[in-house]
């Protein structure tokens, strides 16, 4: 049977110019991890770059505003050690000799861990998606801006 081809080419997609704070979400039941550089209310289209990773872009301006990683804990995480270290909160707390005493400590820890997770996902995507190498400079810029 013939293949179903994509509607938009990856060449048409572009990274954001303005720095944005990332929004992270993990759906445990679906095992999908999202990084968004726009509010989740903004409509996005998934552009699959491999069997786990999809770029999320805005249809109107073709701007890449996030990523979704499917089968995140089941398949993606075990392949990426640095991301695993950031993901396991217990390891991070132990490493930094912290023990959360209240909700404030947990919120603070999450804020500390967030850039590590985003960087971990960034590196993992670059490692697993060869087609992204040609876009890696723009990719790095977009991420470094959103992590300031």
């Amino acid at each position: 049977m013939e293949k179903i081809t994509g509607i938009v080419s990856i060449k048409d997609l572009k990274f954001p110019k303005k720095p944005r704070q990332p929004y992270l979400r993990y759906d445990r039941e679906l095992d999908v991890f999202f990084i968004l550089m726009v509010p989740p209310e903004i409509e996005t289209v998934a552009y699959y770059v491999d069997s786990h990773v999809a770029l999320l872009y805005i249809s109107k301006n073709k701007e890449i505003v996030g990523f979704q990683v499917e089968d995140f804990e089941r398949d993606f995480l075990p392949k990426h050690l640095s991301l695993q270290n950031a993901w396991k909160l217990s390891d991070v707390l132990q490493k930094d000799n912290q023990r959360p005493q209240n909700a404030g400590d947990i919120i603070f820890t999450i804020q500390e861990v967030k850039p590590r997770i985003v960087r971990g996902v960034q590196e993992a995507i670059k490692a697993t998606v060869p087609s992204f190498v040609q876009h890696s400079k723009k990719f790095d810029e977009a991420f470094s801006q959103c992590l300031v």
Binding site: E2, I7, A54
Partner: protein, 104 residues
């Protein structure tokens, strides 16, 4: 919790989306999907193609072509005659690892 909707696919399989799945997994991840309920139903009822998910043998992915993208509905088979909606969103194309099992 009641069902959000129940729709038969082109092969007569009855696909159900629970309120819980719709609210906690589709809208919670993508609030903008609230305006696409009819498209999700239409995608199950009259898809452009149905593909076998590569990572989950019990899942089929329904795609319906719209002007600039596809609506994708991920469905998990309970048995040969019924299935439930897992998630739904808009995609540029299927994954290359998915294989077509039904085409319009």
């Amino acid at each position: 919790m009641p069902d959000k909707f129940t729709i038969a696919d082109p092969n007569g399989k009855v696909v159900t989306c629970s309120e819980e799945q719709w609210n906690d997994h589709i809208l919670a991840n993508r609030p903008w999907m609230s305006s696409y309920e009819k498209r999700v139903q239409k995608t199950i009822e009259d898809p452009t193609a149905i593909l076998q998910d590569a990572a989950h043998p019990d899942r089929n992915n329904y795609y319906r072509r719209y002007k600039s993208n596809y609506m994708k509905v991920v469905v998990e088979n309970d048995n040969t005659n019924s299935a439930k909606v897992i998630t739904a969103f808009v995609a540029n194309s299927p994954k290359s690892s998915e294989s077509i099992i039904w085409k319009k």
